[in-house]
Amino acid sequence: MSTTSLLVIAILILATLGYFLASKRAISTAGGDRRKLHSLPVYYGSNAAMFTAIPALGVLLIWLLAQPMLVERNILSTIPDKLIPEGSSIGLVMSDVRRVADGLEVVVNTGTLSQNETLKLDTEQTDIRALLAGVGAAVGSDVQPEVLEAAQNYRAQTKMGQLWMVLIIVPLALIGFALSVLAAKPTFRARNTVERGILALLVLAASLAILTTIGIVFSMLFESINFFKLHPWTDFFFGGSWAPNFRGDSDLSILPLLWGTIYISIIALIVAVPVGLFAAIYLSEYASPRVRAFAKPLLEILAGIPTIVYGLFALLTVGPALVRVFGRGEEGLLGLEWMSGATAVLTAGLVMGIMLIPFVSSLSDDIINAVPQSLRDGSLGLGATPSETIRQVVLPAALPGIVGAVLLAASRAIGETMIVVLGAGAIAKFSANPLEAMTTITTRIVSQLTGDTDFASPETLVAFALGLTLFVLTLGLNVIALYIVRKYREQYD
């Protein structure tokens, strides 16, 4: 069993011990009378467990993350340049070092050799590759003496680090244990401390989401900056053509992709907004509770279908059906030659619209339901029909919310990937013809990053610039949508 897991188990046992000792001590210092305690004994126990475990485990976590990085940096500086073969990188050598070091640990653990014997190993006398292969650790080539030396250094430093880790964390847990058990007296406000601990947990959870977002933005930002160092930004933002060429010298302009994205999204919204809105009006204003209880979940099932399935639907059903109507010349339904392949803007737009229907209808339904009944009563009481009431009172009152819902749907349409990968085609161009294949930002990100990629070429890095632009675009739409929705909410609450 590794040092780390032993350490964790020890800390947890100590924390459990602290729990019982502290609650016992709290009761005994109160002379056995629970009413004299500030908090229930459970809180004294939890407080002790918390102070024993959390600082120790926290430091342990940070240590585990930081130690390999520090050790690796030390080792890296000792590896001589001549060790790096032609066409390889220092990273590959370092991973060899790691593999040898880990393999030797396994050798010791399985008892093939003792600790001292491994330290005395020599590439001249032992076939280390065969030795390691014997315990299941594969090394690509014969182990060179420098690599072995680095690996031995690696092992030594890791061992040293682990020793220090134990020396720091065990006393830390013990101090927490001792202090919190000693503190378990009737006057100590254990309840408040524990509740502050819970609050910290909640704050941590909330900040994790925000920090992740910031992390995503920064990682995209750095790669985008790298891209703009290799490729002129004027071409990216204002160029007219998208023609990536992995031999270099590519045209990488976002505009044709942006056009495809927006065109497909608009078609999707033209499908989704009326259908979704009408469905929402029916469900919220006309449907009997029975129909509603049945139809609403059914509509929302559409939202649960993975988008790749929609993509297949576009590719296999909608696309060919459209070709039958608008293409095939004499054999087609209309005898037209307008559409040649199943992948087209219209195909992707229609299917994406279908995907967005439940999204629009569900949000609009909530918003329409939020319009107070008193407004409907007022209108009906004046002799308006239900339809007049909806058109003239309910919808105007719900309009800001509905606009918000549509904007949220738009930002989903812009970010949608699988449907357009399968349904829209891969040709980047400016064209107003919805029956032609076009491509979007998301599909190009996918295609630039699949296959053999070299993260130093602008053809690959452009994906991050595209992603960042997309992120900014959808973020902007979401912010506007949420602002509108919230403004509307304030009107009635």
């Binding site: 009997s288 509770p289 107070p372 008193s374 407004l375 409907r376 009563d377 007022g378 209108s379 009906l380 009481g381 004046l382 002799g383 308006a384 029909t385 007049e388 003239q392 009172v393 105007p396 009152a397 009107q491």
Partner: protein, 265 residues
């Protein structure tokens, strides 16, 4: 109680506007209104009083078939307005509600301008030939709602921006604008402060010149102040109905007496 009211009610017309016979209302299994029969006079303010849950609002909502909007509600018996059965199949509830206006407990102006709020009914029912006509209808309704002077300079600002009392008078003006024959008011002052209440009560007294007004109220003082006739409801029954002065001074039924003296309710 109030001599002026008694005198006036004797002088007023006695034409029957609404005549209800053996009205029963069920909410699912709950028998909410039991055997209510009442004759409501034209150009009179009739108050419905009684403890919470006694059915007075339910009965009021029967008079313009607002209960139709509640799925589980069933109404039997006959309610005739001007001798026409309003629950007859041939009667369109939408038409009926144009004739029997309603003002609700909470002011509910539409999220539109003040002008559009008042013009809403006339527009739906095609009461105005042209813009000038509509302007006139709106102005007349706002004057009758006793709010014209306060809003005449800002007819295009939103109705929701007015104060609570102003909103309720706007709603009354809105109801009046469709030229109804009967005006139903469901606790119109319960969300208002005393000053706004006084304004609305004054307004109700003026409206009596043109309409038959039926008002549901929790406040017995209000019933005594504004109405000529009062009906007392208790547990779904109409216990007693008569001249307001008589109900408050010499009630016939012990339950009425207990309620107005504060022993039940």
């Amino acid at each position: 109680m109030n001599d002026k009211n008694i005198m006036e009610s004797h002088m007023g017309t006695t034409a029957i506007k609404i005549s209800a016979r053996d009205v029963q209302v069920y909410y699912g299994d709950n028998h909410a209104i039991k055997d209510v029969s009442i004759d409501i006079e034209d150009k009179t303010v009739t108050a419905f009083i009684g403890p919470s849950g006694c059915g007075k609002s339910t009965f009021l909502r029967c008079l313009n078939r607002m209960n139709d909007t509640i799925d589980i509600c069933k109404v039997t018996g006959s309610i005739r307005i001007d001798d026409e059965d309003i629950y007859d199949r041939r009667v369109d509830p939408v038409q009926l509600r144009a004739k029997v206006g309603m003002v609700f407990q909470k002011p509910n102006p539409f999220p539109k301008s003040i002008y559009d709020n008042v013009a809403y009914g006339p527009r739906i029912h095609g009461l105005a030939q042209n813009k000038a006509d509509l302007d006139e209808i709106v102005e007349r309704a706002l004057r009758r709602g006793a709010i014209w002077n306060e809003v005449k300079d800002r007819l295009q600002s939103p109705g929701t921006g007015l104060s609570g009392g102003q909103q309720q008078r706007l709603c009354i003006a809105r109801a009046v604008a469709t030229e109804p024959e009967v005006l139903l008011m469901d606790e119109p002052c319960s969300a208002l402060d005393p000053i706004a209440t006084a304004q609305v009560e004054e307004l109700i007294d003026e409206l009596r010149q043109s309409f038959s007004v039926v008002i549901v109220t929790h406040s017995m003082q209000q019933a005594a102040r504004v109405s000529q006739k009062t009906a007392f409801f208790h547990l779904g029954n109409m216990v007693e109905y008569g001249e307001t002065g008589q109900i408050f001074t010499t009630p016939q039924d012990p339950r009425t007496e207990s309620y107005i003296t504060g022993r039940i309710g």
